[in-house]
């Protein structure tokens, strides 16, 4: 892949930064941030998909984390402990960054604690809108904070920056970055097709999911998106019958009395993962096909 570029450091056009980022620019005298930052057991790099913003005004950035073997970073819902990485962007006026696009996590069990997270190389794409086509060069800066854990946990923080449009030194690597971002997006959970049935029902202290995809997908693993709704360490009871699977999840002790919706990523043994956002019913009577 593109590992050979990991250590390459870009000199950002500091002069342009000061002028064009206005109040968001670093204070005079501060060294310009580079594209990479490192912390214990972690390196993080800011990359961008190549190409002009075009008429859509949209570009894609990504934070690419590389973790030492045995260490993990957390998913959007970290589970029983830990916390997800965060970034605070400094962008030119009118630009807006969306949140991370999260890959499918892994489930880690450590004694009675279950976590959801990522190992190895983790690419988190971020959509940025409001980028003018053919605008003057600017610097995009991100203050990144993260926590990595093996058995013990260590926090990290760093500032990463990249020029836009990509300066010539970066443009060379841009096709590889573009491919890396594309590959990361290809692995993202897909939206559960609206023609496939899926229901979520609350029965006492359990949440029951009924999934009926058009083709058999096998035994799902459920990754709840909202923290604390289900008991992460409890076993997921799955029954598969033909195309249909039923998953029973134990509700968390801190789950609210009323749960309106259940959002989750469903990973299957083969093929893509899917994301569902289901209304939660509390009756056992059949419900109309939900919006998903």
């Amino acid at each position: 892949m593109v590992r050979q570029f990991a250590l390459r450091v870009l000199a950002v056009p500091a002069g342009a930064t000061m002028v064009l980022c206005g109040s968001a620019a670093p204070a005079t005298g501060q060294p310009a941030a580079t594209r990479d930052a490192s912390g214990p057991h972690t390196r993080v790099e800011l990359i961008a998909a190549p190409g002009p913003a075009g008429s859509s005004g949209e570009i894609t950035l990504a934070l690419r984390f590389r973790l030492d073997p045995g260490w993990h970073l957390y998913w959007r819902n970290p589970g029983d402990s830990g916390g997800p990485p965060t970034v605070r962007w400094r962008l030119p006026a009118g630009w807006t960054a969306a949140g991370f696009e999260w890959p499918v996590p892994e489930r880690f069990q450590l004694g009675p604690i279950v976590n959801y997270g990522h190992t190895g190389e983790v690419t988190l794409p971020v959509r940025v809108v409001g980028v003018p086509a053919g605008g003057p060069p600017v610097t995009i800066t991100g203050e990144v904070r993260w926590l990595v854990c093996e058995e013990i946990c260590v926090p990290g923080r760093g500032t990463v920056a990249i020029g836009w449009p990509l300066p010539p030194g970066d443009a060379v690597q841009a096709p590889a970055w573009g491919r890396a971002i594309q590959e990361a997006r290809a692995r993202l959970p897909r939206r559960w097709p609206s023609s496939w049935r899926a229901q979520a029902r609350r029965t006492g202290s359990q949440l029951e999911l009924q999934l009926d995809p058009a083709t058999p997908l096998g035994r799902p693993t459920v990754f709840p998106i909202d923290q604390g709704l289900v008991k992460d360490a409890a076993p997921q009871a799955v029954e598969v019958s033909g195309r249909t699977s039923t998953v029973r999840l134990a509700l968390g002790d801190e789950a609210p009395a009323a749960i309106a919706r259940f959002r989750a990523v469903l990973a299957f043994p083969a093929g893509p993962a899917y994301e569902v956002d289901l209304p939660v019913t509390s009756r056992s009577t059949p419900t109309p096909k939900p919006r998903s």
Binding site: G83, P112, I113, R145, C153, P235, A250, D253, E254
Partner: protein, 205 residues
């Protein structure tokens, strides 16, 4: 192993609940325990009947714990509430060889250095008290009323980060529970998702 341990810990409660039942349920009597402090003095929960009790799960190497000790937040809470008669027990459930495991002398040295003022530090290297409460993180906080009933379980506050700057803007759930409880009011937020490092129990526990 995990399942077996839970099963044992859950005991009779398992008869009613599914295998996802909870040992330390808010609103119910708090699980009884006896622990030994750093001076070798045993403490039982029953000894504190008539008093408010706070349990604080601790691991001095955990960045989330450091956030609350380096900012002075935990010491301030200990100071404030013990001055009002609350029994504050800091519990260390790290197993030998794991992060946060300390000898009695090391625990006392930490308390002295940090100017912490818990009522006692309980050493729980077997994780017995931790398992009874299903303590998952450091910190994981519990508030027990004078009748021995658990009235709060969960996070120390509503800012699940390692950033000391967040302490100033956080809503502290322990203070809120004690304030309401001591005023004879029900606790508005009795259960939250605890945040922090995992408790470093012995492997396989």
């Amino acid at each position: 192993m995990t399942r077996l341990h839970w099963t044992l810990a859950l005991g009779a409660a398992l008869a009613l609940a599914s295998l996802t039942g909870h040992a330390a349920k808010v609103g119910d009597p708090a699980p009884a325990f006896t622990g030994t402090d750093t001076r070798g003095t045993p403490h039982s929960l029953a000894d504190f009947r008539g008093k408010w009790v706070v349990l604080e799960w601790h691991n001095q190497g955990c960045p989330y714990v450091k956030k609350h000790y380096e900012s002075g937040n935990m010491q301030k809470l200990q100071q404030e509430w013990t001055a009002k008669g609350v029994v504050w027990l800091t519990v260390i459930s790290s197993a030998p060889g794991k992060q946060g495991y300390v000898t009695a002398a090391e625990a006392d040295a930490y308390v002295a250095t940090k100017k912490a003022v818990p009522t006692a530090v309980l050493l729980d290297p077997q994780g017995t008290i931790g398992m009874a409460y299903e303590a998952k993180t450091t910190p994981h906080m519990y508030v027990i009323d004078p009748n021995g009933r658990l009235v709060y379980a969960g996070a120390i506050d509503d800012k699940p980060t390692t950033d000391t700057a967040d302490v100033a803007v956080a809503k502290n759930y322990v203070s809120a529970a004690l304030t309401e409880g001591m005023a004879g009011k029900p606790v508005t937020t009795p259960v939250t998702k605890a945040y922090g490092c995992s408790v470093k129990y012995a492997a396989g526990s």
